[in-house]
Symmetry: C2
Subunit: 442 residues, 2 copies
């Protein structure tokens, strides 16, 4: 039966997380975690869902874009998408006028539409998204990807080979990951928290079975050193410790600062500098390699072409794909395949609202069907904005994600949460509209 | 007297240029040249103006953003901007929530506000923008720039030295450029035109005194060769010939295609591949250097950090700064200074609506006060959408821009043009609203 796109419903949801400073970093001092929630309704009663995360102000910019894109896809069918997901993706990515807008807002808005279409496809097949991906023929995966700018780093033939080789042992890995899913890690050291709050967070993270911890750095060096000593002691000498600077440094500054933190044995420094500084990342990676510190980034890398360069030049050792930064599943498949070719670990970026719910699917696909292993490929996890938000919140067990079993992404939200947090009309924002807007300063 | 920002007026203007295919290229097959026209009105009766060019659909995305940013700057004063233009720029670029949106739409929208503030500053001093820039103390220029991610390629001290050295001979160069402004070049070979139309365009371009011509390439190789032979003959053996592929190729493809065009002696190949592929551009530049073909790009380079890498790695030989792609004057000053350090020629990108009107100011500043020479630094010029659009259209003489003398950018538009082209309510769009929208497909 044909499923034509009948209506695209776009909702601007914001949560006043700035009240607690959870999620704070050197730049995003008072984020209000927000999503553009997109429902694509088909004529035959199906609903595809996606979310697009932002830090608050600007959420409406993406919502505006998604509403415009909705006009472009109206009347097209889910079958047409399934028949050639690459052509559908290209219709949006290469739109002959819209393309001028570049990446950023435009590519993120495109991702909203594309990801909701994948939700519809998975629901048609009654599979969670990861399982839909795992079961796709390699040729179908290749058909999803926009190869125009990627062939010099990875050819479609190489992608087919990677996927074909990964078929060996895939059923066993799938069975294993259904028992115990991708290993998780969490942030314990938010910049805005007191020492007592950090100990509390670490204890909670430990209690959930995790043994890898991330800490925000990038303020005063002395303070970073003090807090790092404190955290390293709290987590113990064997736990993995990751650092995240959220792009606060220049290239030289990043190298100098990190050299002063070597003794705390961090596994990686995440976003040491600007999201698009390939050559800068390369120099930082080369400077820190002798100290066994890797470089990670991805949550703000705005295009597959930038990922291509970061991966092929060895500028990053940890590839932090994000669920809503790129133009949807099609783009992310390409990045995961390029990471596999370069044998770079895939450690997806989570947090926000709904990001963890989405990235678990990518981690499962990667570990079962692409890189074909789980060694060192930890997936970010943050234990907030789940239970009150999603109808089926993420389930964790023994420090690992539990593989989801319901059809699609699993992004269905609770009606109450949606109504209360719709910006600026929801109950939560009544009388405080301005604190959810661009006028709210850190 | 204090000039507080009282009102920001944002208008979505679109011109149905798709009717004629002027402006067509491999991706933008039927562009409708459009601008977001931004007027910042102050409490004491001044008006700052900026335009932000797009290819049609998506113009409203930027307009939406500029309207949101207007809330952020409301009540701030022009004096505050003049006192510390860098701090004002940072308020927008590093907004603690908006920053999540990355570049693209967000940085372009920021550019709208910033450029209108510069217009106000120039009007306060009763100088054309180029003259305001030429007269700025080097320390003031340095204060405008966000150095966070640029210091590894250019330090503020190096920038001061470049500007100080360029003071020598500056009055003479200024006098000379007031006599005959920056040399221009123009596109004669649009993809959508017939041979007869191209000859007509070349004749018109020659008649205006120009001897450099650009041609769009990137279709079928045989057709490109045929048309190039035809154009090379029409312009003569000594005229400079530039080629522009508008990002249609992958890296290998670009190299292979261009090697087949060596005999036509192109000066540069513009945008041979993706706007953000620094490593790709570098490989293309290295492959084409032995054939004396340079690489050019910039009109879609979305951040100063990407320009930094393109310049420092020798990936481009021609730096095509654009007037509305980055976050306004502050960003462009940084790029021009980095180009000067790398001795890369600055050949600004024009066309669209209002871009030529803006870039002439940058070219004048660069040639008088930064690179301090005019050799080979040609500035793009397209002779449409001037006379019926601007109150003071661009004046060309003997193939060169005439230095403007009125205060500000000189972007004041004719009231009739604004009213007729306002989208979708203007007379031009009545009954054809859809052909100006995202639904209009190539």
């Amino acid at each position: 039966m044909n499923s034509p796109i009948k209506e695209v419903d776009v909702i601007d949801l914001r949560v006043p997380t700035s009240d607690t400073l959870l999620g704070s970093d050197p730049f995003h001092k008072k984020p209000n975690y927000s999503v553009v929630l997109c429902h694509i309704h088909t004529g035959d009663g199906l609903t595809g869902i996606s979310v697009n995360f932002t830090a608050g102000a600007g959420n409406d910019w993406i919502a505006h874009g998604v509403k415009d894109l909705a006009q472009l896809v109206a009347g097209r069918t889910v079958e047409e998408f399934i028949e050639d997901p690459g052509a559908f993706h290209k219709l949006l990515i290469d739109h002959h006028q819209l393309r001028w807008l570049g990446d950023g807002v435009a590519r993120m808005a495109i991702g909203s539409i594309v990801n909701a279409m994948w939700d519809l496809w998975a629901k048609k097949e009654n599979k969670p998204l990861w399982k839909l991906l795992v079961d796709l023929a390699p040729e179908k995966v290749v058909q999803c990807i926009d190869w125009r700018y990627l062939r010099d780093a990875l050819t479609p033939e190489e992608a087919l080979n990677i996927l074909a080789q990964a078929r060996e042992g895939a059923p066993a890995r799938e069975a294993q990951l259904r028992q115990r899913g991708p290993k998780a890690y969490s942030t314990a050291g938010w910049l805005g928290l007191t020492d007592a709050q950090i100990i509390e967070t670490i204890d909670a993270v430990k209690a959930s079975g995790l043994d890898c911890f991330k800490m925000k750095v990038g303020g005063d060096l002395g303070q970073d050193r003090e807090r790092l000593a404190f955290i390293r002691e709290a987590i113990g000498p064997d736990a993995l410790l990751m650092l995240d600077a959220n792009q606060v440094w220049g290239v030289e500054e990043a190298i100098a600062h990190m050299k002063e933190l070597v003794e705390f044995r961090p596994t990686w420094i995440e976003e040491p500098t600007a999201r698009d500084d390939v050559l800068g990342y390369k120099r930082i990676a080369e400077a820190l390699a002798p100290h066994n510190i890797g470089v990670a980034c991805g949550e703000q890398v705005p295009s597959p072409v930038l990922f291509k360069q970061l991966l092929e030049s060895g500028a990053i050792q940890f590839c932090q794909i994000d669920a809503t930064r790129l133009g949807g599943v099609n783009d992310v498949l390409a990045v995961i395949l390029m990471a596999a070719k370069n044998k770079t670990l895939v450690c997806p970026h989570g947090g926000g609202i709904g990001l963890c719910n989405m990235i678990r699917h990518y981690a499962l696909w990667d570990q079962i069907a692409v890189s074909a292993h789980s060694n060192g490929q930890v997936v970010e996890y943050l234990n907030f904005l789940q239970d009150d938000v999603f109808i089926e919140p993420i389930v964790m067990a023994k420090g690992a994600y539990v593989a989801p079993t319901t059809a699609g992404w699993g992004l269905e939200m609770q009606r109450d949460f949606i109504e209360e947090h719709t910006y600026p009309t929801g109950a939560v924002w009544q009388g405080r509209e301005e604190s959810g807007s661009i006028k709210f300063l850190a």
